[in-house]
Symmetry: C2
């Protein structure tokens, strides 16, 4: 950059080049039965801050847990009472709606800010967020912005939140009909993955999260994809240990990427972990969230894999293995909304408008992830729309 | 941390220790006449992003500028038209109230989010924020949270914003009657300090910002304090070049601290740059913002310097030189609100409640900065309230 000004004053100070380096450390821990009294994990995580005295906390949980865990409030309360030398709940646990509803109602964000203010949490206090990815995103945004950041402990309760959304550095809510329009980058204080929550998931939620494992395997780790291929049937019939292994490896791959990408806060235009996601986000919107996120991601993966095949990047065998594996896991790979544009070319409900929205959210040049092999992502900056139409026809 | 769980399942994966390092680079540049057509600084800063095409921007400015710069909208528009190969304003510049009002009305935040959505800014677009510290804080919070961060170029127009609040990594608004209750850590894309804005400041705003220069000199740089002492009279009678030198050095010291503290995002309990600020924030509140921030900081500095003297940390000469310099700059060092508690000991309007509020906002242990010499701050974790009462009496 050349700065050559006609100086109007005699005092012309040099530019100051500021560089601020910030390091965030957090542990992602795995357990079963987090709130059982003989499980010290949560208390240990809080005690490890090394600060004197009992720490103050609030807990916010996902209403979706209530039918299966009627005594959750009592359990959390009993737990914190048991470890009251470390941690105290300063108010009753709050319950917020689960799923996308958590991110669509700005009053929920305001409510959590209100509670943080009312009970006088400080930056060294704790917010425990217990639920699926949407609840973690909304509560995380509230915690990140109160006092510019109260410590957030994420306790993800779904496959998707344990293996992907709950382990990363982002939060957010929806606004103006756009997913995650408001949010921030704010790493959590810790993530505690309790496998016991998975027992009571319905089949759709169990399956849904596996799409993110398929995604990260396809772009980064052929061995992990091989594992999913050979264990697809076990995953589909809810084998718990296979699921735990899959969650662990998926979380690990996501965390490795965030730590090593050099762009954890996404200042550039590249976001490889969003393979299959441009179409997924659009389909969630077009179906009014009838599709769950992972179900939409499975279709997005199928679409971008088919496109990669049509573009000559994947062999027919690789492509078919991907589609067959998704089907073996139980995913439907077509919904009518995929093809609305084909039926009515002037419709505003065009799937491909998702490309524009995706670029706008991330900024800069359009950057999409395709596959040039199993375990090998490839970034492209242009797409051939006619190939996408063919890909949609093939999925139909 | 020892984790010794009674494992319920055979699969016991190891904890994942996540470390995310993020580096933020931004330039703080100095000029005179930023929006003059022959001044390429702003265009150069945008062009330096190296991305192709004309970048989209919105501009938000402080209504306090309007009486002095009636043609500001036309000037900004003419500037961006002139450099339209680099930068285009996608909507008319917005005007928002200046001063604390900008941070007290959540509708202003919502309005800026709405505009960012309406015009379809992306993360690589620009928000130009032009105004005093309060406007920069509010607009910065809006920019940081839309799409999890649109690029923010701060154009500070007051002494305080140019030498302190506008060059740092924070933003925020007030909520629940608490200053900066909501906000985030989000470094700007660039800071462009235009000295020309200072010409039209009223005397209070001119003077007010000097308090931050005194503050940072006292805790970090005895030579700079000596400069302020010997130039106090020139600063008070509005010598522009002296002010420019003072702003530059003050900004430099703040930036050096942020870059080198190892805790730019304030995860710990120490905040040395807030010397004198616990009382200042409280006095702003107790006076219903009749005091400007810098005026309150001058009183806070006087109070904590007096306390440091009474605690045996400062010599009588050092203490008197500090108070005399503040007075020579034109600051009043006493307001009745300082002593309300003395007159009515059970009043809820106690100055010292500010200590609790300060600790709550930052979190953890109470950590206050005192002086153990000119240019040498000293952190303490306990205070003797009776010494503060004596200090208040002495200032009276």
């Amino acid at each position: 950059m050349v700065i050559d000004l006609k100086r109007k004053h005699s005092y012309n100070p040099q530019p100051i080049r500021q560089r601020v380096a910030v390091t965030f450390d957090y542990d992602v821990l795995f357990t079963t039965g987090l709130f059982e009294l003989d499980n010290p994990m949560l208390a240990d995580v809080v005690a490890a801050d090394g600060e004197p005295g009992t720490k103050r906390a609030i807990a916010v949980f996902d209403s979706g847990l209530l039918p299966h865990y009627q005594d959750l409030v009592e359990q959390i309360t009993a737990y914190t009472n048991h470890y009251d030398d470390v941690l105290t709940l300063v108010t009753e646990p709050l319950v917020v709606p689960g799923g996308e509803a958590a991110k669509n109602d700005p009053q929920l964000l305001a409510q959590i800010h209100q509670v943080i203010n009312d009970v006088g949490l400080c930056r060294h206090s704790y917010v425990l967020a217990i639920g699926g990815g949407a609840v973690l995103d909304m509560v995380g945004y509230a915690a990140a912005t109160a006092h510019r950041g109260v410590r957030l402990i994420r306790i993800p309760t779904t496959v998707l939140a344990q293996n992907d959304s709950g382990v990363g550095v982002k939060n957010g809510i929806n606004a103006f009909g756009k997913k995650n329009f408001l949010g921030s980058f704010a790493p959590p204080y810790a993530v505690l993955n309790d496998f016991a929550w998975l027992e009571t998931l319905d089949d759709r939620d169990w399956r849904s999260g596996i799409a993110e494992a398929v995604k990260v395997a396809l772009i980064k780790d052929a061995d992990f994809f091989e594992f999913i291929v050979s264990h697809a049937e076990k995953l589909a019939r809810r084998d718990m240990e296979t699921m735990q292994q899959s969650i662990y490896r998926c979380a690990q791959l996501h965390l490795e990427h965030i730590a090593s990408s050099g762009d954890a806060f996404e200042k550039g235009s590249s976001r490889p972990l969003d393979f299959g996601h441009w179409a997924a986000h659009r389909l969630e919107h077009l179906t009014n969230y009838r599709l769950r996120h992972g179900e939409a991601v499975a279709i997005g993966i199928a679409l971008d894999s088919t496109y990669s095949y049509l573009a000559g990047l994947l062999s027919v065998n690789q492509w078919q293995q991907i589609l067959n594996t998704l089907r073996a896991l139980g995913f439907d790979l077509f919904v009518p909304e995929l093809a609305e544009q084909l039926a009515s070319p002037l419709s505003s409900r065009c799937l491909l408008a998702g490309l524009t929205e995706f670029r706008e959210h991330l900024g800069g040049e359009l950057t999409l992830m395709l596959l040039e092999g199993v375990g090998r992502g490839l970034e492209v900056h242009e797409v051939d729309v006619s190939l996408y139409w063919r890909a949609i026809e093939m999925l139909r």
